[in-house]
């Protein structure tokens, strides 16, 4: 692959990254591994991925562009190369997604020197896992409608409230927390904290069962939880601004913050399923309607790749963000529609789930299909993304 636009530093980095990934495949394991970070369920899995993140960090693939004073490797323009190479190699995902793609950008942009030195290195190595406490029962898409209250008491804050859908809370050391510090203003009444959760008094974490039947995210209750004021990020009343920094990084991180979600090519996987499934007396792969549906997915899949390629050619982008902002919606919906098609093709056998020995691919298709909604809802639902695309890219009036 020729890369005419890379700097010498980037080319050298790319070569090193590729060589390291080739020489250091992910360790073999007997564990049943999840499809994505959101499906992490057991401590053993977490330790497996923590170990992998540490290796990648030590090899320079994590924190590539972050200053050495904060535990990074001090390059410029190399992290996206590292991400691409990890995807290409089909490497496992990186465990600490909230730490890497939300906390670190927020702390680097808004934090004190002390906060940067305290939190960034351990998030890079995976030693400290982070979770994100934004959503509440009444504050989802309308995230500014926060009801969790933080009340000042000398040099401390006392927090009371209820967070929901908190992924990774059961494994996390800290939480990026947004809370209300004033009832007077909707947006300007919010503040942002780097809140300890593991073993911290006043914090209770309860698992929530997902529609798949698996454990995944949690709800988190705060009852007179005390946080030191040194853990506040940016000024009182600046919580919304910090949250916006976090959210711009969150979606972008969806692609390529770490390895391939599945090492099998999704279209090849569908074709293989169609060849081994019967439909109306013949192989599903010989059924014209099924064939058309598979090729539609293949075109969408190729389109996503070519969009990513075109996004890097300025002459072929009238608006610099137009393609970049689409990729999250496209990737999550492609995953959903591929999985859904797999369910259709599997026919009667799609009723068999994870623990049925006869289930095709251990029940992968119904599981992947159900799980795919996690991605079309979380991090700003795809409806909200469409609002944003319509407003920021096409310039239509705000729907709010």
């Amino acid at each position: 692959m020729s890369s005419p636009n890379l700097t010498a530093e980037q080319i050298a980095f790319q070569e090193r990254a590729r060589a390291w990934l080739e020489a250091n495949p992910a360790p073999e394991t007997d564990l049943e591994l999840p499809l994505s970070p959101l499906e992490l369920a057991t401590r053993e899995q977490v330790e497996y991925y923590r170990d992998w993140q540490r290796r990648c960090y030590e090899a320079g693939l994590v924190g590539a562009d972050i200053s050495e004073s904060y535990g990074g490797h001090g390059h410029s323009g190399c992290q996206s190369i590292a991400n691409r190479e990890m995807s290409r190699a089909g490497a496992p995902f990186l465990l600490n997604t909230v730490g890497l793609s939300m906390m670190i950008p927020a702390v680097l942009a808004h934090g004190t020197e002390e906060q940067k030195r305290r939190f960034v290195p351990k998030a890079l190595s995976g030693e400290e896992i982070w979770c994100q406490g934004f959503s509440e029962p009444g504050a989802g898409s309308d995230m500014a409608n926060q009801q969790t209250m933080a009340v000042r008491r000398d040099d401390e804050w006392v927090v009371n409230g209820h967070k929901v859908w908190t992924s990774f809370a059961q494994f996390a050391k800290h939480m990026i927390l947004i809370a209300r510090t004033s009832r007077e203003h909707k947006y300007d009444g919010l503040s942002f904290f780097l809140c300890p959760v593991e073993g911290h008094p006043g914090v209770t974490i309860k698992p929530l069962v997902k529609m798949t039947g698996e454990l995944g995210f949690n709800e988190v209750f705060f009852e007179d939880c005390v946080i030191d004021d040194s853990l506040r990020l940016d000024d009182v009343g600046k919580g919304w601004t910090v949250a916006m920094t976090v959210l711009t990084h969150e979606r972008g991180a969806a692609e390529g913050a770490g390895g391939g979600i599945s090492s099998v090519h999704p279209i090849e996987r569908l074709i293989a399923l169609a060849r081994s499934s019967m439909r109306n007396g013949r192989r599903a792969s010989d059924d014209p309607v099924t064939r058309d549906a598979i090729v539609q997915q293949a075109i969408a899949h190729e389109g996503l790749r070519q969009n990513a390629r075109r996004a890097r050619v300025p002459a072929l982008n009238d608006h610099p963000m137009r393609l970049r902002m689409q990729q999250g919606v496209l990737a999550t919906e492609l995953e959903q529609s591929c999985a859904r098609l797999g369910v259709d093709i599997a026919g009667a056998r799609s009723t068999l789930y994870k623990h049925d020995a006869a289930a095709p691919e251990n029940g992968y298709w119904p599981l992947a299909y159900m799980n795919s909604y996690g991605f079309t809802i979380s991090g700003g639902s795809n409806e909200i993304q469409r609002n944003i695309l319509g407003e920021r890219i096409l310039g239509m009036p705000k729907s709010k």
């Binding site: 014209p288 058309d292 389109g303 390629r309 393609l323 695309l389």
Partner: protein
């Protein structure tokens, strides 16, 4: 394969310059107000008097001077041998302005001539501005290179053509026809001036106002030996096919972008219930979906063009079919929304959206729509049934 295809599709400064020049030239010489006057002002001329759709021949002369029509002619034959990726950039602009012209027909004929050994004189003439069109389709509208409605017999060293070619694009603007004719077990590729004795052009009454189309009768049309440019027309057509598909796909994408921008603008301007209608998500979200579809098609078009330029032939055909499928479907969707979201005015002759709607609909069908491309793709990706 020379090298792996460039990451930037090979869309470099030359390609960008041509595209920007084309955009500027067409913005100035064919703004939509002028297009409307040209093709749609006189409703009766098309629908009552059945005249041919109009085009601007003076503008075409300038286009020939700019060298667009000969862009695909290779350097050996006196052309510029422009890369496909540059040509699709240009054709996108033609689509965005719904340019009525023999540009696409001539490019498509050129790709086929360029896949033969014997057409260098004709290619040189195309480089000088001769316009051309492919005559290869039978009455059923088969896009398969091996099927056609014209046959040839040998007579005193010449070939004599009889039969009918259907769905010939911009035939009334073409000076020569590139005809694929059954000849014994082969198909011969002949270049025949449209004015030759024995040729009759019968205009098809089409909905698209930005081109013409004809059924062409061949009755004892003599073709001198030097104008039989290949005895393997099927091979030439097959090799040229990715280029033909991607060129029409690029026209569709350009056209679709005009439809999107125009409809978005209307959604910002038109107020109902005290608000611009673009406020309503039933308006906003479909337009976002149209953008997603158009962008996918556009990326696939550049990938296909780049694969033709740098990649291997099977990959190029696959990429081009993907591009044509995506572009046809994207064109159909934005066409649908462009009329619907304009409301009553969108349903009228007075509103410009129908001009683009019809050009798009014509292009969607041309050389196979999305379903057609996908069924061909399934044969290579999944296997024959």
């Amino acid at each position: 394969m020379i090298d792996s295809p460039p990451r930037d599709f090979g869309f470099g400064p030359d390609e960008e310059m041509l595209r920007d020049l084309a955009r500027k030239f067409l913005d100035e010489s064919l703004p939509v107000e002028k297009l409307r006057v040209l093709v749609a002002e006189d409703h009766d001329s098309v629908y009552e008097r059945h005249e041919l759709p109009r085009w601007d021949e003076a503008m075409w002369k300038k286009i020939v001077e700019l060298g667009w029509s000969g862009l695909a002619v290779p350097e050996e034959a006196g052309g510029v041998g422009f890369k496909r990726v540059g040509i699709v950039g240009l054709v996108e602009e033609a689509g965005r302005h719904a340019l009525p012209s023999p540009l696409v027909a001539t490019l498509n004929a050129t790709y086929v001539l360029d896949e033969t050994e014997g057409a260098s004189d004709w290619l040189a003439r195309v480089a000088q501005g001769t316009t051309a069109s492919l005559a290869m389709t039978n009455a059923e509208g088969s896009w398969e290179p091996s099927e056609g409605g014209v046959s040839a017999r040998e007579e005193g060293g010449d070939l004599v053509l009889d039969g009918t070619a259907y769905f010939v694009q911009d035939a009334f603007k073409a000076e020569v026809l590139v005809v694929a004719a059954h000849c014994g077990g082969d198909r011969a590729l002949c270049v025949v001036p449209t004015s030759s004795a024995g040729i009759t052009l019968v205009p098809d009454r089409i909905h698209d106002l930005t081109r013409d189309q004809a059924t062409i009768r061949f009755e004892g049309v003599r073709v001198a030996k030097e104008n039989v440019v290949s005895r393997d027309a099927v091979g030439a057509l097959e090799r040229a096919w990715p280029s033909v598909l991607v060129t029409v796909a690029a026209d569709l994408v350009g056209c679709a972008e005009w439809q999107l921008q125009t409809t978005v603008q209307y959604a910002k301007d038109r107020k109902q219930f005290d608000r611009p209608i673009g406020f309503f998500q039933a308006v906003k979200h479909p337009l976002v979906n149209a953008m997603l579809d158009i962008d996918r098609a556009r990326s696939l078009v550049y990938n296909a063009a780049c694969t033709i330029d740098y990649g291997d032939r099977d990959e190029a055909l696959k990429a081009a079919r993907m591009a044509k499928s995506a572009a046809s479907d994207a064109g159909a969707f934005i066409s649908d929304r462009s009329v619907q979201l304009h409301g009553g005015i969108g349903f009228t002759w007075e509103c410009d959206v129908h001009i683009f709607f019809k050009r798009s609909m014509h292009n969607q069908a041309l050389y196979g729509d999305g379903i057609y491309q996908r069924s061909k793709l399934a044969e290579t990706m999944i296997g024959e049934i």
